[in-house]
């Protein structure tokens, strides 16, 4: 059973100079339920756009998106949020700084329900928040009443992670969620990520810049370049992959790109 199916997704936009950029070119992708998929690619390869399209914050120009078999292409982002959890790269983006930790989590507990006039922080919800924070084992349950603004970047990402997975989403999108953290925090966030994903048996699509992470996490690796999927390995092939090998493949692509660009620039100079 597939958790996510993308059929021929294309997306283009205008860059600063008014040129059309093909961010995604006819992407076809299926992600099996319960799998942990790593997505790598250089800046501008289209991976962030792909996440935006899946989460619903951007509409693709063409193509269809299915989550657990349901066509969600026309669902607005906040509606799709009922089944897609998301952790951003920027630790400030996933939480509301001036609300307390428990208020943020209560918000996540409301996910998929109507925003009605019931109390958000009922005793039951508060207890569940306390227990889930305590289960993380980093002492956040003692700071439930503090504003998220008082937390470090790593702690914020952990709260965001908990918010994103509160109701066991069909798909969890991790958008370089440790890239903005110091190494120790990144490690902590990653290990808690692994734990939550394993405990809940979540389906994950994780974008990363780190070849180390790409090799050590997940059972399937996808590489994107210029809006296309250029590498898709899993199983033993993925297990055998070495960081250095991926780096060199990466660099090859880049060299090709530089070549393309320099030729294009030459042509422009000559003929325009």
């Amino acid at each position: 059973m597939t958790a996510l199916t993308l059929q021929s997704i294309s997306k283009s936009y205008e860059d600063g100079d008014g040129r059309q950029v093909q961010a995604l070119q006819h992407i076809d992708l299926e992600i099996a339920r319960g799998s942990f998929v790593i997505l790598v690619g250089s800046n501008g390869s289209g991976k962030t756009t792909l996440l935006h399209v899946i989460a619903g914050s951007e509409r693709p120009d063409t193509g269809r998106i299915f989550l657990e078999g349901e066509d969600v292409g026309t669902l607005a982002e906040h509606r799709r949020a009922a089944s897609v959890g998301r952790v951003f790269q920027d630790p400030f983006r996933g939480t509301v700084a001036e609300m307390t930790i428990e208020e943020n989590l209560a918000l996540a507990a409301c996910r998929g329900r109507r925003s009605d006039l019931g109390f958000a922080l009922s005793a039951r919800v508060r207890k569940e928040i306390h227990d889930r924070l305590a289960a993380l084992g980093i002492g956040l349950e003692q700071r439930m009443h503090q504003r998220v603004a008082t937390l470090s970047g790593g702690q914020r990402q952990i709260v965001t992670m908990l918010m994103a997975t509160w109701h066991r989403p069909h798909l969890l999108l991790l958008d370089e969620h440790t890239a903005a953290l110091d190494p120790r925090s990144a490690e902590l966030v990653l290990s808690l990520t692994g734990r939550i994903v394993a405990e809940d048996g979540l389906t994950v699509l994780m974008v990363t810049h780190s070849m180390q992470q790409a090799v050590h996490f997940g059972e399937r690796l996808i590489m994107m370049h210029r809006g296309k999927i250029t590498l898709d390995i899993s199983g033993t092939e993925k297990l055998r992959a070495q960081p250095a090998e991926l780096e060199s493949y990466f660099e090859e692509l880049h060299r090709a790109e530089l070549l393309d660009d320099s030729v294009a620039a030459l042509l422009r100079e000559q003929y325009i």
Binding site: R86, A97, E98, L107, A108, G112, R147
Partner: protein, 313 residues
């Protein structure tokens, strides 16, 4: 002396809903919504027009509130449906309301003479409670018994509003509203409909401003289309005084701060007016806002524990 204080408290409580309204747009949605300059007047003129037509003042005031809410709805739809900047949307609706308010009132101003207004009720209540609708004496100092009734009435309105808003912001809807203003991308990511929340906040905010407008006109026995001019800045001054008192406390205390800030502001201004030092009230409000936003760094540091960042930026 006491007379001035009672009058200041009455005005403070009458303008407290405005302060709560500005709190919602400025502190939750983080922009100074100029619509209130129009919707304050809308509340006044809608209530006035209805009372001139013979409606009882309570219903007229409530409908004035709804009028203000519709003004807020217009601004919100400009923002959410047409993608116009929040600040510009507020300015557009405020400007349009200037003429609309004049049409509703049928002129620039209208003094209440024969109409039954909340002031008529206040007069009757004063007679019933204090046996006089003129002056009471406390410690040898006279003050208006009607103003005291206004303090009690508008004070009760403020308390009810505070309780309702405090409860409201603990509900799932209220929490989503705060989140949508505080961090739209986070709110969307957990499934809150940010557009709906922006619309709700602006409707509520302007309905509260209109409630103040309607009471304001009845307190001063006249409705004028210029009533709302400068009210956003007044509201900001109240909210910032409140922020200095209850800066980073809980949300309920910050709401309370807006009301207390309004009362304090009016008491201080009344004291200054008594001593003959202050006359240009709107100029003073603008200067207070300016000072609050540009406090010298050392004062800022001193207050940094109590003031939220947005207030001192």
């Amino acid at each position: 002396m006491i007379s001035a204080a009672v009058s200041a408290l009455a005005q403070g409580f009458i303008l407290a809903p405005l302060a709560l309204g500005v709190f919602l747009s400025y502190r939750i949605l983080r922009f100074p919504d100029l619509t209130v300059d129009g919707s304050f007047g809308t509340g006044a003129v809608v209530a006035a027009a209805l009372m001139i037509g013979g409606m009882n003042p309570a219903s007229a005031t409530l409908l004035g509130m709804i009028g203000g809410g519709i003004a807020g709805l217009c601004t919100a739809l400009l923002v959410t449906r047409l993608g116009i900047q929040k600040l510009l949307a507020g300015i557009l609706v405020m400007t349009a309301l200037y003429n609309i308010n004049a049409h509703i009132l049928g002129g620039g101003s209208y003094p209440f003479i024969d109409e039954v207004t909340l002031s008529t009720y206040a007069e009757a209540a004063a007679r019933a409670l204090f046996d006089t609708d003129r002056m009471l004496v406390f410690l040898g100092m006279p003050f208006s018994s009607q103003n005291l009734v206004w303090v009690l009435f508008a004070g009760a309105v403020s308390v009810v509003l505070l309780v309702l808003l405090t409860v409201f912001f603990r509900t799932r809807f209220g929490l989503a509203m705060r989140a949508a203003g505080g961090n739209p991308s986070a709110a969307r990511a957990v499934g809150a409909n940010v557009s709906t929340m922006v619309v709700s906040t602006l409707v509520l905010s302007n309905a509260l401003a209109a409630l103040s407008g309607a009471m304001f006109a009845q307190f001063f026995h006249a409705a004028a289309i210029t009533d709302g001019t400068g009210m956003l800045v007044m509201g900001l001054a109240y909210v910032l005084v409140g922020a200095a008192l209850f800066g980073q406390r809980s949300f309920a205390l910050r709401l309370l701060g807006a009301v207390v800030g309004t009362l304090l502001y009016h008491l201080i201004i009344a004291a200054l007016v008594q001593s003959g030092e202050v006359r240009d009230l709107k100029l003073v409000a603008a200067v207070v806002v300016l000072l609050a936003l540009t406090l010298p760094p050392f004062v800022r540091k001193m207050l940094s524990r109590r003031m939220p960042k947005e207030a001192v930026r």
